[in-house]
């Protein structure tokens, strides 16, 4: 049996134009709404599959304000069966703070008799992009870690994780317990079903406070990159443009050559 813990963060949906908050410490979600990043959606999907294959329970956790419950419920709706909410202002927490709080949850759950042999995280947060929490968490727990993989399976007390590396496709094997950070692309995250959503609504959420005051992210401000210049190339009009469109699709990999 494997009972993975998957960690998610409530972030602004960044698929459209990014708008910063007035204090430049975060991203404004007024228009785009809030979500979990694509990496974390894949991590949730992997956690749910691993738990299902192994007859275990996938637990989702987050550190965030009261509204972050929405992201926990979203994960519960697609198959996680338990949730832990560290109620805190995520903006005030740096990567080291977050890693410490996740580690505390892992230790407390173990002490309570519901240990997690595997912790899955997104490769990096969609809003702050610190890339640190996974490694810091592994260090804190003294567990092995692999970063930036897109598929994860568990068999015989061993994690097999693979993804694209600088030199090609990489596959790692790690002993349990382990920490894995996930890049999107290896699995297709499911949408919630209606019964799943209804069930998620009824799952009790473990609420806890942070174990220590945060050191903070030490971030001065966020800065938007200058808009990338966009040039428009007209491929043609009418049916005559079709071959050019096919060529482009092939270049983009949308169509096989």
């Amino acid at each position: 049996m494997v009972d993975p813990l998957v960690c998610v963060k409530r972030v602004v949906d960044a698929t459209s134009e990014v708008v910063l908050t007035d204090d430049e410490q975060g991203v404004d979600g007024r228009y785009a709404g809030f979500t979990t990043s694509a990496h974390e959606e894949c991590a949730v999907e992997l956690a749910v599959r691993i738990a299902a294959d192994a007859g275990g329970t996938a637990t989702v956790m987050t550190l965030g304000d009261d509204d972050a419950v929405e992201q926990l419920r979203a994960a519960l709706a697609v198959g996680c069966a338990a949730a832990t909410h560290v109620v805190a202002d995520a903006q005030a927490f740096g990567p080291a703070d977050v890693a410490r709080e996740i580690a505390a949850v892992v230790r407390d759950h173990e002490a309570a008799g519901t240990p997690h042999e595997l912790v899955l995280l997104g490769n990096d947060a969609a809003d702050t992009g610190d890339f640190q929490v996974g490694i810091r968490l592994a260090y804190e727990l003294g567990w092995p870690v692999v970063n930036g993989v897109s598929t994860v399976t568990v068999a015989d007390g061993e994690v097999t994780a693979s993804g694209s590396g600088p030199d090609g496709h990489e596959t790692f094997r790690l002993p349990l317990p382990a920490v894995v950070t996930v890049l999107e692309g290896g699995v297709e995250p499911r949408y919630p079903s209606v019964p799943g959503r209804m069930k998620a609504k009824k799952v009790p959420i473990e609420e806890r406070r942070p174990t220590a005051d945060p050191v903070g992210p030490s971030r001065v401000r966020l800065v938007l990159p200058p808009p990338s210049p966009s040039t428009v190339q007209v491929l043609g009009t009418g049916p005559e443009a079709a071959p050019a469109v096919v060529d482009l699709f092939e270049q983009l990999g949308v169509l096989a050559r």
């Binding site: 708008v19 228009y31 709404g33 929405e70 979203a74 949408y191 079903s193 209606v194 959503r197 209804m198």
Partner: protein, 841 residues
């Protein structure tokens, strides 16, 4: 894409269903040099049309909305973008079944095929529905879905094919310039855009949820609010996927949970009107770049939807819980809401600046046609007075008012709304000087045009005993909701002694100047070139001879006329008269509504009471019917007008606001020994007038009705020209196609033995329930219903086919799907009570 032209005859802002329909109908009606712009790309610029669920239920309690919907359906069908699916409105409660019976009344009245059916009937057509969740349904086979984006494209292309339309997408309006015109009324001159400026005489704002922002640019209020309608899409559902096409199962409206389930290919769309009202400001709608999907598809807030999800699942568990069916799409879709639920159409305070907003998919093409006709001819085939932008009073133009009222009404979108139902929010906007006194008298206030008007006075409950069953008590809760037998007691006391009635909500304006006579002669049907001191009751027509209004005009001087009209429609009347002032010239229109209060006193003792407060001659010889003059009354100078809407001797007394409360008290005090009581609008607006067969604008009279059909023609037509004269003269030569009749209900007893009282809107049928059809192809329905306590009858007004308009003709009224016998009592304006008008003298 085309560049922004520098000039245009008309600029249409918006390429949603309304803008596209408008450019089509404008070019069809001969408009040239039409420019259409939108800030978004085509064919889906990102407004509400782009995410609409696109289904159309045809039956609405409002005739105006139903007619616009039926016209839209015809247009969608002609374009080949309508797919008929049929639709159910299901009832989970007996209360809802009663509402569905009332819906049957509307369906019959508007001539729409519909039927009340059992759960098993529904199950047969919608096999995945749980029969035990509901007790019955309203089946409309003609319900269907449309492709509104395709329809928009077709209409735009038709307009382009005329060669008279230039379409420029992805340019945003940055300003609307106006110039000062005659009488201080501004006129539109220019549209400023990100692609350059366009000089234009006519501009139409058809920008949906963004319209208020554009209105602000020209300094006009377009009082709508963007509001969220939540919708999710669940699929693929195997039960749906195995069928071809977009829709093959009827749409289900789950009325009691305020939800709908609408098949869309392999997915089931579940939409909700049950959540809290989620309102946005037009300025807070994201730009196309900022929005994740489109500007009007806001992020889904799942907490708001969860309760509806459970209810939808209860109704269709096998479908919504099917293996592999997932919630693949979920939005907080923005649509437009207004304080009264009606669209905002017509020319604004700024000349040449038109609006066509707060329109849903089901009305879009119909609105486009009607507004285009209005812009072309000055009137439309379908009466639009409930949607006229001119209807709004100042307090209704506040965003706060729209916000509060729509917050209250959103949850009633699928609600059971009683015809007399009052809003609770944003009340007490306009209080008459007598308000404090009325509160002490136990007034029950209803709102008209922001005014708080006593409908009856609880302190008059003491009269109930005196009159016994003559007050026609109503046993059924629905019939007596927003009603009291005290109204009928006040009525009987008025007929016996006198009643004092606060009419402060009247809209009053003076037309003064050298052309004043021309203005009233041109706008009014009746002869207004009368002696100073005369009072004229007159219809006001549009050019096609339909009613714009009916009102009274007093000639106060050679060059001075005072117009008195109802509050509800007063702003539109004011705009109509203002629009007929000569552009050059010194004649002005001045609104006195907030300066002058009106108190009515009527009844056989009215003269005794008035004469006890004045030394002036108020005898019939000294102060004849339909005359007016200043008298000194209880120490106050008052303009008294001898006129009556309740069929009794008496006066309307126009008094400066600051003296109104004093006069009110004096009248009540002097009246008490004569038996006079204060009476509410229940008497003035319903019982008093209906006994006299007086017509009311908005009920019997609207732009689809004629003087002849309303039975209001006089022997002669004045020589002077007036708007609608040519049409009116022609109408007088033709046999009417419908005749306004007064009917009385012969027996109120329902099958269960409860006596039932109709409230208006019910179909009139043959005695055995057969359909009647008039010369317009319309079916008769009750335009007004009310107690006639002095006759001991419940009276109905209805336009009947001419051959049915025979005194004594025995027909039936259908109420809650039961037939009640009625008899025609009058076939013209002849009152049932006091036909020779003795009492008025």
């Amino acid at each position: 894409m085309a560049d922004v032209p520098t000039t245009a005859r008309v600029v249409v802002i918006g390429a949603g269903i309304v803008g596209n329909s408008l450019v089509h109908h404008l070019t069809r009606l001969g408009w040239t040099d039409v420019v259409q712009i939108d800030k978004g790309p085509l064919p889906n610029p990102g407004g509400s049309t782009g995410h609409a669920s696109n289904f159309i239920f045809t039956v609405d309690h409002s005739r105006e909305i139903t007619d616009l919907t039926l016209d839209s359906v015809a247009q969608y069908k002609e374009m080949g973008v309508f797919t008929q699916s049929g639709g159910f409105e299901i009832a989970r409660t007996e209360e809802r079944m009663e509402e569905l019976r009332r819906r049957m009344s509307s369906a019959r009245a508007w001539g729409i095929e519909a039927e009340l059916v059992s759960p098993s009937f529904v199950k047969e057509k919608v096999p995945f529905i749980e029969e035990d969740q509901f007790i019955g349904a309203f089946w409309t086979p003609g319900v269907g879905v449309v492709d509104s984006l395709r329809a928009g494209t077709i209409m735009r292309e038709r307009a382009l094919a005329t060669g008279e339309l230039t379409v420029v997408p992805t340019v945003e309006v940055t300003g609307l310039d106006t110039t000062e015109g005659p009488h201080g009324r501004r006129r539109i001159t220019r549209v400023r855009t990100t692609g350059g400026d366009i000089e234009a005489d006519v501009v139409v704002i058809a920008a949906g949820v963004w319209s208020p922002k554009l209105g602000d640019m020209a300094g006009i209020s377009i009082p709508l609010t963007p509001a969220v309608h939540q919708m999710i899409s669940v699929g693929p559902c195997p039960q749906l996927a195995e069928r071809e096409g977009e829709i093959s199962f009827p749409i289900v409206r789950d009325m009691d949970t305020f939800c709908y389930e609408r098949q869309h290919g392999a997915d089931m769309e579940v939409g909700s009107y049950a959540h809290r009202a989620i309102l946005h400001e037009p300025e807070d709608i994201p730009s196309i770049e900022q929005a994740k999907l489109s500007p009007t598809e806001m992020p889904f807030t799942s907490d708001d939807f969860d309760p509806q999800l459970e209810q939808a699942y209860e109704l269709m568990p096998e479908l919504l819980g099917a293996e592999g069916a997932e919630m693949r799409y979920a939005i907080n879709g923005l649509l437009s809401l207004t304080c009264d639920g009606n669209p905002i159409l017509g020319e604004s305070d700024v000349a040449g600046l038109w609006t066509a907003a707060a329109v849903w998919i089901k009305e879009g093409p119909g609105v486009g046609r009607a507004v285009a006709e209005w812009m072309t001819d000055g009137h439309s085939e379908i009466d639009l007075h409930h949607s006229d932008i001119a209807r709004f009073h100042d307090h209704q133009k506040r965003r706060e008012h729209t916000r509060l009222r729509t917050t209250e009404s959103f949850i009633k979108t699928y609600g059971i709304v009683h015809p007399g139902e009052q809003y609770e929010s944003d009340r007490d906007q306009r209080l008459s000087p007598m308000h404090d006194s009325q509160e002490k008298l136990g007034a029950v206030f209803f709102e008209t045009a922001g005014w708080e008007r006593p409908f009856w006075y609880e302190t008059n409950a003491s009269l109930l005993e005196a009159y016994g069953d003559a007050v026609m008590p109503r046993e059924h809760e629905w019939d007596s909701r927003w009603w009291s037998p005290i109204i009928n007691a006040e009525h009987l006391r008025m007929r016996e002694a006198a009643a004092v009635i606060d009419l402060s909500a009247f809209c009053i304006f003076d037309i003064v100047g050298p052309e004043a006579l021309d203005v009233v002669q041109t706008t009014c049907v009746a002869q207004c070139d009368v002696a100073v001191g005369k009072v004229v009751y007159t219809p006001v027509l549009d050019a096609k001879g339909g009613f714009r209004s009916d009102l009274t005009v007093m000639r106060l001087g050679e060059d001075h006329f005072r117009v008195v009209t109802g509050g509800a429609h007063g702003m539109a009347d004011r705009a109509w008269f203002a629009g007929h002032l000569p552009e050059a010239g010194a004649t002005t229109l001045t609104d006195l509504t907030d300066d002058v209060s009106t108190i009515g006193i009527w009844g056989p003792r009215a003269r005794d009471i008035v004469s006890s407060l004045t030394a002036d001659d108020v005898s019939d010889a000294g102060f004849g019917f339909l005359t007016c003059r200043e008298i000194d009354l209880a120490g106050t100078s008052v303009l008294a007008s001898r006129i009556s809407y309740v069929g009794e001797l008496g006066w309307e007394l126009y008094v400066p606001m600051e003296h109104a409360a004093g006069l009110w008290e004096a009248l009540l005090e002097a009246g008490a020994p004569h038996g006079a009581v204060p009476a509410g609008i229940g008497v003035y607006g319903t019982t008093g007038r209906i006994e006299k067969g007086y017509r009311a604008y908005g009920a019997e009279l609207d732009s689809e009705r004629t003087i002849v059909e309303a039975g209001m023609q006089r022997p002669k037509v004045k020589a002077a020209d007036f708007v609608g004269k040519e049409a009116y003269l022609a109408q007088r030569e033709e046999a009417p196609r419908a005749v306004l009749c007064t009917l009385t209900v012969d027996d109120h007893t329902s099958a269960s033995g409860t006596k039932r009282y109709m409230l208006g809107g019910e179909p009139i049928l043959t005695r055995d329930g057969g359909t009647l059809t008039d010369g317009h192809g319309h079916h008769p329905y009750v335009t007004s219903a009310g107690s006639a306590p002095s006759l001991g009858k419940h009276v109905l007004l209805a336009y009947l086919p001419p051959d049915e308009a025979v005194i004594g003709n025995q027909l039936a009224v259908s109420y809650m799907e039961e037939l009640y016998p009625v008899t025609v009592g009058s076939i013209d304006a002849t009152p049932l009570l006091d036909p020779t008008n003795e009492r008025i003298r």
